[in-house]
Symmetry: C2
């Protein structure tokens, strides 16, 4: 008895030791009531967890599985939250957040010529871009966005600020055929873009890009030079495409081609390209974009608010053309950078536009904001889902608010019921940048104080 | 010298005393950076205040004016908030909040027949209505709604709960031509409605109403009996009207009349009437509704999500037909009762539908959620604006969040940028029911616990 007890005690001891030593040490484990992976099997794991080491995901599974295999110093458990991939905003102009609501409910031309262009001419410089980007980064992070695609001026400053805030950005230096706040000629802008591509070519968080504004604001030579520059550095080209009927009509009149066909004839679509809007694409355009592997960004708030039209999203996704979601800029086209709203709006807009309530169901809308958006950016090997080896970009969305109860379907709740204000924690590239709704990487009072300062300056400038 | 000093000191003393005694004592003063009155002059008062006594507003003006005229025991000052009239939800089915997301992205018939009708048959009883209404009241109050129009079953229980929570309700007892959870026949429902009208006829917070579900779910006799009952008690009749094209087509086939013309021929529109949706109204219908003074409820989320269509809101408002905003029920047609979202959506939907970004500007959208909604309910003498003599229904909306900065136009910020989560305080009929985002009149943990209980029961019932 006594001996056998000692023996079994010793065995038990060895067993416990071996169990302990079998567990791998990782940096962080986040666990939640639900883990929505958006992986190829679309696994939704009840009582799930994700193990993170350095900048990447080591494993995702049930909490039991992860606890059995890993230990971590940094543990975050949210028994009443959903853990999802970070949201991907595929089109915005971040710094324009300082123009929030400066000129709404106007005709596009009046809006641009009477307000936005003068306001930009009088106010936009490197410091404006720095503070405007900080304000947008703050709003984006707090609402669950971990990657955003930008197109604006002084993009190297946008990159600095994005890195400092710990966010991931696909950042396009604007090339435009008239004097801009940063560069007075397209040639100067192209040169500036090249040094930007050189500087950030190998960055862990920043994908520098060349962003010729649109076909109608650049010469064909400039457009082709932009393409060559992007290809030289194997970085994306970002462009606005078929946003308005006027753009299409002008192109048909002047070039006897749709904007898509015209860009393709110029070779602009050969290579890594992200095109924003695509409201007025016809079947021939879609065939071209499909053949070229062009990624698209759908901006429902902007297309509705500016009355641009309704993009054929259902048709586009049925053709397996990757189309993500974007907020567009916060200066008339939208008044926030809230991806939770864009998901909801995208789904509802396709339903009413097609007359079919089954169109763009919640799971597909959530995919647009995550893995499909990653495909549109050709970054789906890195981000867009919670899978082993991918970058650790993920968010916790709380289920404690009255509008979150009860819950029957996790995708339905994410797209139609949950709000930006439910986002509790945000991790980008393995680093927690938001914890319990607090931004850890920005001086929030300073950003808000600067926003008020700029408000006074800008309000006077558009009087 | 000495004497004159004493004299002037005495004079100063008398002056101060008289000032003090000149100030009227009131119960409550709320002051904010901006007061958006929605009064006939559409006054927006910078550094404004509202004085409240008992259930009504005594005065609204600049903080200086109000401080000079009134003193109060209960003072709330929000230097970084907007004080507005409480939001008015002109159409919902509150208790259906327990079905949040139970069946989304489905065809209307499949949604109704496979999910909603069975789920209601198996789950809806008086206790379900009690807890579902509590959950909706909680969500509505926290998102700034102070008055809502309901159409459901066991409406006397809805009334009990609405009073207990301190909210204002226009509550319609459903009359429908098939066995319902509360009454098995329309005759029984009419009798039940009558005792409900008797019980709540003189209530300070509740306006009881008769709610024949729709023209296609009731016999003509029942519809006319409902009208007579509403008129007998001088209370509103609430009905769904031209929500879907199918409803219009069937009516044209069976009655050779549009639903509006058919209801009018039956005399249903003679009197106090609130009709929900009005998606498929033609010019003749609008002329009838205008002539009858019918109030309408626009439900953009529901009309988009169920692909019902797009109501001609711009045309309706241009005809000065009062059309407010509604969320509809939280069971497929919507997944929340968030009026801040409906404002934003209503404006954007009219812009894209009309092709004119100037359509339904922010101020008009905010009016739909307040004073125009009050007109639709024929309650604009009581609520909908911050004016002397009106009921003290008002809300504080904070401007501290990143998505609220900077601000150039108060209406633009309210409609396009601010969220339900920015609502800080809510007063209904002079009573504060939400303070610093906390509901004071409901047991929140109990409501959320019950929601989870019902979730398990309901999920099993629709398997």
């Amino acid at each position: 008895m006594h001996r056998s007890f000692k023996a079994s005690a010793a065995l038990l001891f060895i067993f416990l030791i071996s169990c302990g030593s079998a567990r791998t040490r990782v940096d962080t484990i986040w666990s939640a009531r639900w883990v929505v992976t958006m992986d190829p099997a679309r696994r939704v794991i009840e009582n799930g967890a994700v193990a993170v080491n350095g900048d990447h995901i080591v494993d995702a599974g049930t909490r039991q599985e992860i606890d059995a295999k890993y230990t971590a110093g940094d543990l975050l458990d949210r028994p009443s939250a959903i853990l999802t991939p970070g949201l991907i905003n595929t089109h915005t102009h971040a710094a324009m957040s300082l123009f929030r609501g400066v000129a709404d409910d106007l005709k596009l031309q009046e809006w641009l010529e009477k307000y936005i262009f003068p306001a930009e001419a009088k106010n936009v410089d490197r410091e404006f871009v720095r503070w405007g980007t900080r304000l947008a980064l703050l709003e984006m992070a707090l609402s669950g966005t971990t990657t955003y695609t930008d197109m604006y001026y002084f993009e190297n400053t946008v990159a600095e600020e994005t890195k400092a805030a710990g966010m991931r950005g696909v950042l396009g230096q604007t090339i435009i055929g008239f004097p801009a706040p940063d560069y007075k000629t397209p040639q100067a802008a192209l040169a500036g873009a090249e040094s930007f591509l050189e500087a950030y070519g190998g960055d862990a968080l920043i994908v520098p890009a060349v962003a010729p504004h649109a076909i109608f604001t650049n010469s064909d030579d400039t457009l082709q030079a932009a393409r060559q520059l992007a290809d030289k550095y194997q970085k994306p080209l970002i462009i606005h495409l078929s946003e308005t009927k006027a753009e299409n009509d002008d192109s048909l009149k002047q070039r006897k081609k749709t904007p898509t066909a015209a860009l393709d004839a110029l070779g602009l679509l050969n290579g890594w390209t992200v095109a924003a809007h695509g409201v007025w694409l016809d079947d021939t355009d879609l065939a071209i974009l499909k053949a070229r592997g062009t990624g698209l960004a759908h901006n429902p708030s902007s297309n509705m608010k500016l009355a641009s039209g309704i993009a054929p999203v259902v048709k586009i996704l049925n053709l397996a053309i990757p189309m993500g979601l974007g907020t567009d800029g916060v200066a008339g086209s939208n008044n926030d950078v809230d991806m939770m709203e864009e998901m909801d709006l995208a789904a509802k807009l396709q339903k009413v536009a097609t007359g079919d309530p089954r169109a763009l169901p919640a799971e597909q809308a959530f995919a647009m904001a995550t893995i499909t958006g990653a495909r549109a950016l050709r970054m789906d090997k890195l981000i867009g889902s919670l899978e082993k080896g991918k970058r650790a970009d993920m968010i916790m969305i709380g289920l404690d608010s009255p509008h979150a109860a009860p819950m029957y379907n996790v995708y339905s709740q994410l797209v139609y019921a949950l709000k930006a204000s439910d986002v509790e924690d945000v991790m980008v590239n393995g680093r927690t940048i938001v914890r319990e709704r607090k931004m850890l990487t920005l001086d929030v009072p300073a950003v808000l104080a600067k926003a008020s300062e700029y408000q006074r300056q800008i309000a006077n400038s558009v009087k």
